[in-house]
Symmetry: C2
DNA sequence: CATGATACTAACCTTTAGGTGCGTACTTAC
DNA sequence: GTAAGTACGCACCTAAAGGTTAGTATCATG
């Protein structure tokens, strides 16, 4: 482990490339949006196609309007979600994934699917832990 | 979209199978551990092999001892991390991934890698958003 | 003989994610 | 005529994530 960085691997270059292990790397923020409690659900939901605000609210059960709005704004800001609003009398807004968003969406869904399918194993592991809880 | 569930798809059965879109589904908690700020980093770090506590602390820059300990306990509780402690005079504890943990770890790493590699596109999308910020 | 490393825990404090209304401008349904 | 739906913004509040500091027992190093 060298203290001095060879080849002038500057901080900025490191950050542009994205390095999760480095503090203050912007990718950590993106990751936070994507892996946020509702970010995951929204991305997966939108993989199924365009949805309106209240459709999303119904599909992602348990989310509050405030959090849904904020999550959508995060994801829009990162270029993952496309917001299309029609200036009609009862508000009408459609949300969909950009190509970039579909890309992340797929990875996120794979992770989510894995967890869903392996839930039994996980819960079982948890119980075994408790039984073997000699802890000493 | 039927309101009535056919075949008595009971709530418990639904939950055992894992359904992220359902509130109170245990998988949401597992997801929270895995996608927590430090959970991601720890899983990816341990994919590289067994590490001791302070190795992890150094590798995952920015994490506090408290959070690292807590994250490791979450992941151990879910059966992803194996903790092996040697009762010697200066404490010696080794952390590694269980087979289950390596499985999730891979998915998480794929997501992390994707973000790292696409950071430039994301940051660019962000700037374009700001320039096109007619907002109207 | 005073640090420092090790792997934590307990206590305390701050920050932020997230929740709960309330309001809106207009329409459709009851 | 009143209630509900639409897509939020605003203000206020709670809970949980996260940080900071101190302490522990023992050994190796300076």
């Amino acid at each position: 482990m060298s203290v001095q960085q060879p080849q002038t691997q500057s901080l900025s270059a490191q950050l542009l490339r994205g390095n999760l292990f480095a503090e203050q790397c912007p990718s950590r923020e993106v990751l936070k949006h994507v892996t946020s409690r509702w970010g995951v659900l929204v991305l997966v939901a939108l993989l199924g196609g365009t949805l309106r605000f209240s459709d999303l609210r119904r599909k992602v059960s348990g989310v509050s309007e405030k959090m849904l709005a904020q999550t959508l704004q995060w994801l829009e800001g990162d270029g993952f979600v496309l917001r299309k609003s029609y200036p009609v009398v009862p508000p009408h807004v459609e949300y969909s994934l950009t190509p970039l968003g579909q890309d992340v969406g797929v990875r996120v869904q794979e992770l989510a699917d894995w967890i869903e399918h392996h839930l039994p194993s996980i819960l079982q592991a948890r119980e075994e832990m408790n039984r073997t809880d000699i802890t000493k």
